[in-house]
């Protein structure tokens, strides 16, 4: 049986770190705060691994299926009978898996940052923020209540805001952090309303009950909810769709992805942690968490999810081919990979063989966490060395950064889906699932995988090969042990993670899913991947003008892709023109002039009247007498003739 305290400690230790470092780090702990934070996280990672072991190999499996456990559930805020926000710990395959991923990657980043962020002015603050993020993310993962997940959802949002804006005196960083927060916030609005709808129609906020009520078609909740429709779609459909919007926002799905590239303004380790491995997959996790509802009650929404995922995947891939900022390239690739996970869920069914997409998605999430974190950390090492994000400043670094080079290569191979690296296995499963359910998406996915391979190796070659690197000034060597250790560990993960029999552990219905491997099927993707690699090799191995030519040849498409298909501009137009000029300004004006004007008007009118009637008081006693007499006569006539 799960032990509540052990599991509770996993998120609480980082929280402790946050408080400790946040309150005292700046003044007292100073540079030691990094070690403290890391130590705390190490503990909780160990606990997480222990929990995972316990769950998967000791008590988790009951008669052939992994069960849900809720070792702890506290009522946090009760709205009415049965409807309450609970703080709970929910253990099931995906949560445990995420637990491991999050804590592990976070630990890596902690260690890495010891080197990368050394000497930063707000070192302690940095680590306290990391703690906050890790806490929130773990809480999100473990949430047993849809409102709990929303709470931690917001918390990860804010910690990401804080970390993106870590270099707060860089205007671009500030802007990026604001953008990230507001865009996700906008998506969260959908999430919130979705929660309201779902909870109202199911009469609960608790995941288990909610899913169980909404998935049984004969339950009266579903009946009533299905009856009440809005714009032709049932309440449940709306609810599910809105919830997905929340997820899409966090996971930077098209068209809510615009914040992710800018988010790269944050320190690179942060990007690795938040914007590659963990937070951005929260959306996927959310969909997975509510998968039964999507799959059984609102398949339409699942369809949408599939398409959104696919589109995001390919668009991001295309854009990634044209960018020059290495972190942005990685960001787009992240987006594209998450697109994979999304449509994997989208094409999946509930239970049994048909649930392959689900497993695949989770699997890809797992592997992607490894190699993408690795990529970012590697890129971080490069940037650390070059002091620039722009790959045009780079080239021929393989001699100067050997370890980074190797690990980076591994990661690239992994993401390109070259066997036997991790990416290969998960991607294969995804493609298979798509193949089985939705041909169109399958083709998109296939093309995307090719593009992926291409732009990754474009990156790889331009950084490490291409033009020779000329050393100006004395260069400190590759970052120290603290930075190399995570690279190595992650490289191992990226290389080996594929061999985990994932289906054994994670599947839509908890029962084991044997993923059998078809060689003939995997020819196409691998082939495309290799093609992409060779294309990159041909274009970027040596310094030459082929790329420019190619770009010129592609013309408009290239330009559009280079400008990210002008989506940012559209957003800018909407916010600046519509929100500010068409709503905000008029509102402010209306308030100052109309509403306030009314108030002042009354005052001035009174004044004016009083000025106007002052002549009555003319100072002439006979005038007074006339008024007097008139008063008498009027009153008399009034009361003799009129009012009786």
């Amino acid at each position: 049986m799960p032990n509540a305290t052990t599991i509770a400690l996993i998120p609480l230790l980082p929280l402790a770190g946050f408080l400790l470092l946040g309150l005292f780090g700046r003044k007292y702990l100073k540079s030691s705060s990094g070690l403290i934070g890391t130590a705390l996280l190490l503990t909780s990672t160990i606990l997480a691994l222990y929990t995972a072991y316990e769950y998967f190999f000791v008590y988790g499996k009951v008669n052939g299926a992994y069960q849900q456990f809720i070792p702890l559930q506290l009522t946090w805020l009760e709205f009415s009978k049965g409807v309450s926000i609970d703080m709970g710990l929910l253990l099931d395959p995906i949560s445990v898996m995420m637990l491991v991923v999050v804590s592990f990657i976070s630990l890596m980043v902690h260690i890495y940052s010891l080197g990368y962020m050394k000497g930063e002015e707000r070192f302690a603050t940095y680590y306290s923020f990391l703690g906050l993020f890790t806490f929130s993310m773990l809480g999100l993962v473990l949430a047993s209540n849809i409102f709990q997940i929303y709470i931690f959802w917001e918390l990860v949002g804010v910690s990401s805001f804080l970390l993106i804006g870590y270099y707060y005196d860089k205007p671009s960083a500030v802007a990026a952090s604001k953008k990230a927060f507001i865009v996700t916030r906008f998506a969260d609005l959908g999430f919130l309303i979705g929660i309201l709808i779902l909870s109202f129609s199911s009469g609960t906020l608790d995941f288990t009950t909610l899913i169980q009520r909404l998935t049984s078609p004969e339950s009266n909740e579903v009946k009533t909810a299905v009856v009440s429709t809005f714009l032709g779609a049932s309440a449940l459909t709306w609810g599910a769709a809105l919830v997905f919007i929340g997820g899409a926002g966090k996971s930077a799905m098209f068209p809510l992805h615009i914040w992710l590239p800018d988010a790269m303004e944050g320190p690179t380790p942060v990007s690795a942690l938040i914007h590659a491995a963990t937070m951005v997959v929260a959306g996927v996790y959310l969909v997975a968490r509510l998968f039964p509802v999507f799959a059984l009650t609102t398949p339409a929404v699942l369809e949408i999810i599939g398409w959104v995922g696919a589109i995001s995947a390919i668009i991001a891939a295309v854009i990634a081919c044209t960018q020059t900022d290495i972190k942005r390239i990685l960001a787009y690739s992240t987006m594209s990979q998450i697109g994979y996970m999304m449509f994997a869920l989208g094409v999946s069914k509930y239970g049994g063989e048909a649930g392959l997409g689900y497993t695949a998605s989770m699997f890809h999430l797992f592997t992607h966490a490894m190699f993408k974190a690795l990529l970012f950390l590697g890129a971080g090492a490069v940037i650390h060395y070059i002091h620039s994000n722009d790959m045009r400043d780079m080239g021929g670094l393989r001699k100067y950064l050997p370890i980074t080079h190797i690990t980076f290569l591994i990661a690239c191979l992994a993401i390109a889906g070259v066997p036997p690296f991790a990416g290969f296995f998960s991607k294969e499963e995804i493609l298979l699932a798509a193949y089985q359910n939705n041909m169109a998406i399958y083709w998109i996915a296939l093309i995307t995988s090719g593009l992926t391979a291409f732009y990754m190796f474009r990156l790889y070659f331009t950084i490490f090969w291409n033009k020779p690197h000329e050393v100006h000034g004395e260069k400190h060597g590759e970052g120290g042990f603290a930075m190399m250790l995570p690279l190595v560990l992650l490289a191992v993960g990226a290389a080996a993670a594929g061999f985990i029999p994932f289906g054994e552990f994670v599947s839509s219905d908890g029962k084991a899913l044997v993923s059998h491997f078809h060689l003939e099927f995997s020819i196409a993707p691998v082939g495309l991947g290799l093609a992409g690699i060779f294309a990159a090799l041909w274009l970027y191995k040596k310094q030459n003008d082929k790329p420019q030519k190619l770009a010129a040849a592609l013309g408009g498409l290239y330009k559009a892709a280079y400008h990210k298909f002008y989506i940012d501009e559209i957003y800018l137009f909407i916010t600046k023109k519509v929100l500010f000029n068409l709503i905000g300004r008029p509102a402010a004006w209306f308030d100052r002039n109309i509403v306030d004007g009314m108030v002042n008007l009354t005052g001035n009118t009174t004044q004016a009247v009083s000025e106007g009637i002052k002549k009555i008081q003319s100072g002439k006693v006979q005038q007074y007498a006339i008024y007097f007499l008139a008063g008498v006569i009027v009153l008399a006539t009034l009361f003799i003739y009129v009012l009786r």
């Binding site: 006979q622 006339i626 007499l629 008139a630 006569i633 008399a636 006539t637 003799i640």
Partner: protein, 172 residues
């Protein structure tokens, strides 16, 4: 049928109203005073006609002997001899006339509509029982008003002295 008393009445009425009108109309202030005097006399005459000799006497004594004289003195004090009074603005006059006319019409309408229950016994009171009443404190007696009047006259006297006999600042 027209008796002497009737004629007398109308004469007195004519005198009163006529002189009244003249006294508010003329622009010679002395004449105004004199017209006022005659108008008051006319009223006194009406009292006589009504057989309220005592009131008539008082009227003559107080008004003719007192107030009008006072007024005339004050005219002497304040008026540069013989010049006419300044004309009033005509709009003021019009409004006043209008108001007055309305008031008069209104009053008369009400008064004539109302049926005053005329009593037959029209005996006039004698000076003696007026005197008795005046100083009796029991029901229907007028001692209290008498006292009040005395206080009032005292106050008025003091007031007049203070105001009219204004002493130069340095004295006292």
């Amino acid at each position: 049928m027209i008796t002497g008393s009737t004629i007398l009445f109308y004469l007195l009425a004519a005198l009163t109203l006529g002189c009244g009108i003249l006294s508010v109309a003329t622009r010679h202030i002395f004449r105004a005073a004199i017209y006022l005097l005659f108008s008051l006399i006319g009223i006194a005459g009406l009292y006589f006609w009504l057989q309220y000799e005592f009131i008539a006497a008082v009227q003559i004594v107080v008004y003719v002997g007192g107030i009008v004289v006072l007024i005339i003195f004050s005219i002497f004090l304040t008026q540069q001899a013989g010049e006419k009074l300044p004309k009033q603005k005509s709009d003021r006059k019009i409004f006043a006339a209008l108001a007055v006319f309305c008031g008069f019409a209104l009053t008369m309408l009400q008064v004539y509509q109302h049926e005053f229950n005329g009593a037959e016994t029209t005996k006039a009171p004698t000076v003696a029982d007026i005197g008795k009443k005046m100083l009796s404190v029991d029901n229907g007696g007028y001692a209290l008003p008498f006292e009040i009047i005395s206080m009032l006259l005292l106050a008025a006297m003091v007031g007049c002295i203070v105001i009219a006999l204004r002493s130069k600042p340095e004295t006292k």
